[in-house]
């Protein structure tokens, strides 16, 4: 879930500068990830423009109270580096191999899991992490969490024989991750550990790494992630557009080469802007083939021309001829006059019936012919004639029917034959054949009709069959050339549709991206300014004699072009900084960059541990370093490990308040720690140096009293902080409390009893253990204002020294 504070800043900026061409949902969706962005692009409701506030509160600020190491690297037996868990500078000094760096490495491996320094080393080196003189390995750090009585203990244990990665981490006595106490992100953003190796190599990294190292502390990660999300979506969209566009040139060439009319349609669609994808889709699905006047349609019509069946034709012709032959046969002889004869004979029989007994023929007058036998014979003949006439009529009717049927067989010329335009196959023979076929001879003569049908019909069948075959072949040929193109188009079309949708979405995403980038840059510059100023301040303290001055320091660019810009000048001439700086200067610059990063108010780590920053530095830079460290130590606990005596020397020279702890390693990796110097020690030493001087004039004795007073104040201040921390008070309270006492006795009362008003009880309490307390405190209270020390000033300092020890509260059990 993105940082709620950041989102509200973004929302406020949106109110002030809405982006054109995009929508707030798109910008806000970018914070919820890729799916959300795609959802908005698909037209889903932006949804959840409001976000839940960050769930967990920030972890408590912590100071470092102790690092305990056992069986790790240079440390064998359990050794503890105790630190005063409060702002201030602590130097841990020791020769190389004294085990000093083992403490910082241990802390690093405790907090970060693996030591960054070791990641780059050989396995042999990495296998040497275990101390030779000790079997099991334990690293433990105690952190004083602000406002809590009990320290937070973080420890990592390795069983005998376990690998470096096989450790058990426990936090506050329970096995759990640092993530669970909210440290994972701060450890990445505000790393409180800086090894010498990192100092050396920090500026060797690419500008984008430096950018990342510094940008992490700005808390703009979500904003950058949102930008990256949008960028990723946009790149995918653009890739989709390109993926569709890439094959188009090749497609166009193939289409241009194709004679297919569909190719022309598709070409036209591809040449229109934007592509007419619907037209291409229709062409592919074949709907376009049904178009009027389309050659393909005509070809397929021609290929499907109606076929005159040869059998039917022959049957028709035969039927015609048979019917006609029958009529002809029946008409031969009397057949044609059968009806007339029958009529005549019938009339004669009637007449004969009326002239009873007469045998003479009324026509020719011949006697004796119209007999009964005649009458009987004629009657039979009449019946026969009537039958013949009937047969002829039937035959004629049948012939008419055959002619009508044959005529029906002859259909008009079909439309596909007569359409204009060249279908690519010879239509003319079939057309002519059909026309001749259609020209039925006039007169209804069955024989001529049969002959027409017989001849023209055979011709028609042949011509149509030929045309159908060639049309089919032409269709096949066209399909063969078109199919591969069509296949390509079929797979291309969905990509092209996606691309068109993508192309429409790109501007909105781009606008949202630009908007977010501007918002990011604006917030980044705003948040980076104080850091850049701190870096500048550090650099001017550290540079000392360097002729390199640091100009503008800023974070610029985005994504792959992000970089840390270091402008500067050498002896007043603008120059690329990193190239002209010495290694010592580079270390200084890296430290200048690191200290502000580790000192961000948002960081829960109120301590920084720096391992060996002094190497390769000029003496004057060591002084600058000491000054910069002391400045950082005003509100941070700064722990510096060094093998170089120059830093503690510089700290002493410059009289900077610091605690110096010496690490020494005896045989068998027994590491011992000893406090060499501290603000209290320093003042006591100074007081002794003056007090022991032979011939010290009385006027100078008050100098001793002044240093003694400072020693007591330093001891009391430290004691107050320790007491209040154990009471679970917050640091801000401690500082406020320390502002209050106006006299030394009040401060001592605060240290001894936690109550500044009990100053009257201070002397009786201290006098229990130190008889000289009363007079000593009286003189110190006047301090530099003229406390006259009676007797031996050195003895006086000894009393003060013992008083400072009485002020320190006892170490807690188990600490």
């Amino acid at each position: 879930m993105p940082d709620a504070a950041l989102l509200s800043l973004v929302a406020a900026r949106w109110e002030a500068h809405p982006a054109t061409g995009t929508s707030a949902p798109l910008v806000l969706a970018a914070f919820r990830g890729r799916e959300a962005v795609l959802g908005v692009l698909e037209g889903e409701d932006g949804g959840g423009a409001t976000t839940e506030p960050a769930a967990s509160r920030a972890p408590d600020p912590v100071h470092l109270a102790a690092i305990t190491v056992e069986g790790f690297r240079g440390i064998g037996e359990r050794a503890t580096l105790r630190l005063h868990p409060a702002p201030g500078l602590t130097l841990v000094v020791g020769r190389n191999g004294s085990g000093k760096s083992s403490f910082s490495e241990a802390l690093e491996i405790l907090l970060l899991g693996t030591n960054r320094r070791w990641d780059r080393r050989s396995p042999v080196w990495r296998d040497g992490w275990r101390n030779l003189h000790h079997r099991h390995t334990v690293i433990e750090a105690r952190f004083a969490a602000d406002g809590r009585r009990e320290p937070l203990v973080v420890s990592r244990r390795w069983d005998d024989g376990a690998g470096l990665q096989e450790s058990t981490l426990s936090v506050g006595g329970r096995q759990r991750s640092l993530e669970s106490i909210g440290w994972a992100q701060p450890l990445a953003s505000y790393p409180p550990l800086l090894s010498h190796h990192e100092l050396e190599s920090a500026l060797d990294d690419t500008p984008s790494h430096l950018y990342d190292a510094l940008a992490g502390i700005l808390g703009l990660g979500d904003l950058r992630a949102a930008q990256e999300t949008l960028r990723g979506v946009r790149l995918d969209l653009e890739r989709a557009v390109r993926a569709a566009g890439d094959p188009v040139d090749a497609l166009v060439r193939r289409l241009e080469d194709s004679a297919d009319e569909r190719a022309a349609t598709v070409l036209a669609a591809l040449r229109s802007r934007p592509w007419d994808l619907d037209a291409i889709g229709e062409t592919l699905s074949g709907e376009a083939a049904a178009d009027e006047g389309s050659t393909l349609r005509r070809l397929s019509d021609l290929a499907a021309l109606p076929v005159l069946a040869r059998e039917e034709l022959e049957a028709t012709v035969r039927g015609l001829r048979d019917a006609d032959r029958l009529v002809t046969e029946l008409q031969r002889g009397e057949g044609a006059r059968a009806d007339e004869l029958a009529d005549l004979l019938e009339r004669a029989l009637e007449v004969h019936a009326h002239a009873a007994g007469q045998t003479a023929c009324p026509v020719c007058g011949t006697e004796g012919v119209l007999t009964y036998a005649w009458r009987r014979h004629t009657g039979e003949r009449l019946r026969s004639l009537r039958e013949d006439a009937e047969a002829l009529r039937a035959a004629r009717a049948r012939r008419e029917a055959a002619i009508a049927g044959a005529t029906l067989l002859v259909t008009a010329v079909p439309a596909p034959l007569t359409e204009s335009g060249d279908p690519g196959v010879p239509v003319e023979p079939a057309l002519q054949a059909w026309r001749r076929w259609s020209a039925i001879p006039e007169g209804g003569d069955a024989q001529r009709l049969a002959a027409h049908l017989q001849e023209r019909g055979q011709q028609l069948i042949a011509a149509v069959a030929e045309l159908r075959r060639s049309a089919r072949e032409e269709l096949d040929r066209r399909q063969r050339t078109w199919r591969p193109i069509a296949d390509t188009l079929v797979t291309w079309l969905p990509a092209a549709r996606d691309a068109r949708a993508a192309a429409e979405r790109v501007p909105a995403v781009r606008a949202a991206e630009t908007w977010l980038r501007d918002a990011h840059d604006e917030l980044r510059d705003e948040r980076f300014r104080p850091i850049a100023e701190a870096v500048q301040a550090n650099w001017s303290a550290l540079r000392q004699d360097s002729n390199v001055s640091l100009g503008v320091l800023r974070l610029a660019g985005a994504s792959t072009r992000r970089q840390l810009v270091l402008d500067g000048s050498v002896d007043g001439e603008a120059a690329p900084l990193l190239g002209v700086m010495s290694q010592g200067e580079l270390n200084c610059l890296a430290l200048s960059l690191f200290l502000p990063r580790a000192s961000q108010p948002e960081s829960p780590f109120r301590f920084v541990v720096i391992d060996d920053p002094v190497q390769a530095m000029d003496p004057s830079k060591v002084e600058g370093l000491a000054t910069a460290l002391a400045a950082a130590a005003r509100d941070r606990q700064v722990v510096v490990l060094t093998h170089d005596t120059r830093l503690p020397e510089a700290v002493r020279f410059l009289r900077l308040p610091a605690t110096v702890i010496e690490v020494a390693r005896r045989e068998g990796s027994i590491v011992e720690l000893r406090e060499l110097d501290s603000p209290v020690r320093r003042h006591i030493d100074d007081a002794l140096a003056v007090a022991r001087s032979d011939g010290l004039p009385p006027e100078a004795r008050r100098v001793v009293a002044g240093f003694c007073r400072m020693a007591l104040e330093a001891a009391a201040t430290r004691a107050v902080a320790q007491r209040m921390r154990r009471e679970g008070r917050r640091f801000a309270d401690v500082e406020a409390e320390l502002e209050r006492p106006t006299t030394l006795l009040m401060l001592l009362a605060l240290a001894l009893f936690g109550d500044a008003s009990r100053s009257a009880d201070v002397v009786p309490r201290l006098a229990r253990d130190e008889p000289g307390a009363a007079e000593t405190l009286r003189i110190c209270n006047r301090g530099a204002h003229g406390g006259a020390i009676p007797g031996d000033p050195a003895a006086f300092v000894r009393v003060v020294e013992s008083l400072t020890r009485l002020l320190a509260p006892p170490e807690p059990a188990g600490g």
Binding site: Q544, D545, D618, P619, S620, E623, R652, F653, L654, R655, D686, A689, V690, S693, D694, G695, L696, P697, P698, E699, A700, R702, V703, G706, F707, A784
Partner: protein
């Protein structure tokens, strides 16, 4: 001898050594300037002790510089004088591998010595006024 030397003049001489290049001082100037500046500090402190704590000039250099802040009532200047003293002492004791002080270290030492001379003189003037007469050096001023 130190009492008779003028600290201002000694600082000015040290600055000249550091600034003017001649054959004679080539390679030697940092140590020469350091020596002159330390003498300036000793001279200024001697005047300071004369006015505040006679006899202190006979104690060790470390003791003296530690007393400057308190007896002058200026802890900051005291710190700077201590630092300058440390730097200069390192330079004045010949150590084969010890690098001479850098120009900026010397510059800060010059400033500390000069400021101490000024503060000492102001203190001496105040003391003389309280006694009703001006110290010898102030009398010579226009």
């Amino acid at each position: 001898m130190a009492e008779e030397s003028d600290p201002h003049a000694l600082v000015a001489a040290a600055r000249d050594v550091a600034r003017i290049e001649t054959e004679a001082t080539a390679g030697l100037w940092p140590r020469a300037a350091a020596l002159l500046t330390r003498q300036a500090l000793e001279a200024a402190m001697a005047r300071l002790w004369a006015a505040t704590a006679p006899g202190l000039e006979r104690t060790s250099g470390r003791c003296q510089v530690l007393c400057v802040g308190t007896l002058l009532g200026d802890p900051d200047l005291g710190g700077r004088v201590t630092l300058a003293w440390n730097v200069l002492s390192e330079a004045c004791h010949h150590r084969v591998y010890r690098l001479p002080p850098t120009a900026s270290e010397l510059e800060r030492a010059f400033e500390a010595a000069w400021d101490l001379a000024e503060a000492t003189e102001a203190l001496a003037c105040e003391a003389a006024e309280r006694r009703g007469r001006l110290p010898p050096r102030a009398e010579g001023l226009p």
